[in-house]
Each structure stands twice: as C-alpha cells, then as structure tokens.
Symmetry: C2
Subunit: 182 residues, 2 copies
C-alpha cells in the first residue's frame, strides 16, 4: 500500500475544522503520538530519504515503521512497513544493540477526520506549530499521481492554500530547528 499525503502548514485549525463540520466529515479520534526517529549505522537516512520510526500512542501502543524514500513530487508518498510491538524499552534497546541511533523526537496531538476516501489530520506539533495532513491510500504505484491530484483538490475545498504546502517531514523540520538553535 502507498500512502498519498499532502501536508500544509496552517496559521491554526479553526477555519479547516469549520469546513470539515460543514462537509459532515466524520471525526474519528484524538491521538497523542510520540515519534522516536532512528538513523542507520550504514547510511544516513536523512540523505537516502528513508526513515525508521518508533511511534508510541497515548494508549501505550508501540509501532515500529520503516519508510522508504518519497516517490511523488508535490506529495510525500512513500512505501511504509509497520509492525506493532509489545514493549517500548525492549524494542529501543534491541535497535540500539543493532547500532541504530536515536536522532530526534517528535511529539504531536492529532484530531483525525474521515471524508470519503480521505483521512484528514489536524496536527499540533511540539515546538513546530499547526499543520493539516490530507491522506489517501492506493495499492498501485500507477495510481499515485491521480490520487495526489484528488488530495490537492480536496485540500482546495477545505480552504488549504497551495502555498502552505510543506514538503519537509516533521523529522526534517525538527532537525532543522535543532540546527538553527546551535
């Protein structure tokens, strides 16, 4: 499965939330997620555009995810592989023994909505601000471009300006912020 996703940096969530309500979009859930990103000892994932992430949900669920390089242009489509684990500390310790190093932590609160084939995330990211992600899934690489257009058009409908599009990942934004601070 390929995740087709466009992210927007927004001033706040008020207007978008109103639009979602007007469209009768379904509110799915509120989650709190802490993402721990790790880098490979073999190659710099920041350069190869891969990512290895351990995500901890508010309810304690732990998910290990490998993300391949971005495929699309506007969006940030990637292949994703995930597995749920039963223990955060053991998982992190195993990864450390295998020489993976923790490089960044992203903490966010998200409100998740569904509308037709789209999932909409209203994200508040610690130290970074407010974002909206619009996502859909396709099971064939051939469908990525069309799906990206559909996501962008639905973004227009929500009042998300195209100049707000943020191609960088939260990881990249957190790392850049860290560099600026030095």
């Amino acid at each position: 499965m390929f995740e087709v996703e466009v992210k927007y940096r927004v001033p706040n969530h008020d207007a978008i939330r109103d639009r979602l309500k007007a469209l009768n979009a379904k509110f799915l859930e509120h989650t709190e997620e802490t993402d721990i990103y790790l880098n490979s000892p073999l190659r710099d994932f920041a350069k190869t555009d891969e990512a290895l992430r351990v995500r901890v949900y508010g309810d304690g669920t732990v998910v290990l995810t490998y993300k391949g390089p971005r495929i699309g242009n506007v969006g940030k489509t990637r292949e994703e592989l995930s597995v749920t684990a039963n223990d955060l500390d053991s998982l992190l310790e195993i990864l450390r023994r295998l020489d993976f190093r923790e490089v960044a932590k992203v903490v966010k609160r998200r409100d998740i909505y569904n509308y037709e084939n789209f999932t909409i995330y209203l994200d508040t990211v610690e130290d970074l601000g407010s974002f909206v992600e619009v996502e859909t899934m396709v099971n064939d690489k051939e469908l990525i471009n069309r799906a990206t257009d559909e996501v962008l058009q639905f973004g227009d409908k929500l009042g998300l300006k195209r100049e707000w599009i943020e191609k960088r990942t939260y990881l990249e934004l957190v790392l850049e912020r860290g560099n600026e601070r030095r």
Copy 2:
C-alpha cells in the same frame, strides 16, 4: 536477566522423561518453534557471538530477540532482549530493508518441564536430532558461576552425561551442517 543454560546432545528423550516424572517435575507445555536467524550488515554475528532471531511459535506468536555474546564457559549464558510483534511478514521485511540478511532456519518441537528453579526443554530439532536444555535465570552477573554449577548438578541428577554437553548453538550446528553438505 541472564539465562544460565546447559545443552546436552542425547540419544533420545526416554530416560530423561522418566527421571523428570520420578522427580514429579511439572510438564508445562509442548511448543513448536521456527527460528529465523539474521545477520548484521555491519559485522558477522557468527564472529561476534551475537544473534538476532525471529521466533514464530505454533500459535503464531512472533518474537524478535537480540542475544549478546556468551558470557560463561561451560554454559551458554547470554543477555537477551525480546519484544513480541504482531506480524511476521512485516517484521522480516523491515529487517531486510535495514539490511539484515536471513542466514538460517531452525525448526524444533519442545516439551517444557519445570522443576524447582529449573526449566527443562526436551528438544527435537529438524535435521539435527534430540537435545535437552536445562536452564535457570539470574538477575546478577555475579551469580552466573554458581547457577551454572547448580544446573550441571541437576543435569547429573537427570542422568545427563557431562560428555554430552554441546556448547554450540542450534544456529551454529545448522550452519556447520550446511557447510559439511557443500
């Protein structure tokens, strides 16, 4: 926690099973385990005496385990870190993307008994034959030597001959068998 464990290669399990019954050892369970061993792209785990294993139990449970180098002399004490995962295929695919390579598969059936502080495994390993493992756990490195003596004395009690002790892991035995065949 440190696992203190001695393994014996045995002609068969009949005599040992009789001893366990005579001692009123408690039969815990029968399991079937398929172990997939992976090697690191950075260093040869066969040389560093580490191991990365994905174990699949008969009921479908998947456990990822990292084993550090053996510490003791007679026994095969190691530090172990484990985490349970919810999906075999995704876990293996993530490990492949992180450049770990599958090097061997060990398939075994085990009957597990408990007696006092000891766990006793009667193992039948595909292509290798019959083995008995006697194990106890200690939470301090200082206690490893004493625990190893206790395991050996209990092995005597079960009629396990000291010349039957097999220091090699099942992984090493399977790999050696593979080399002999070439």
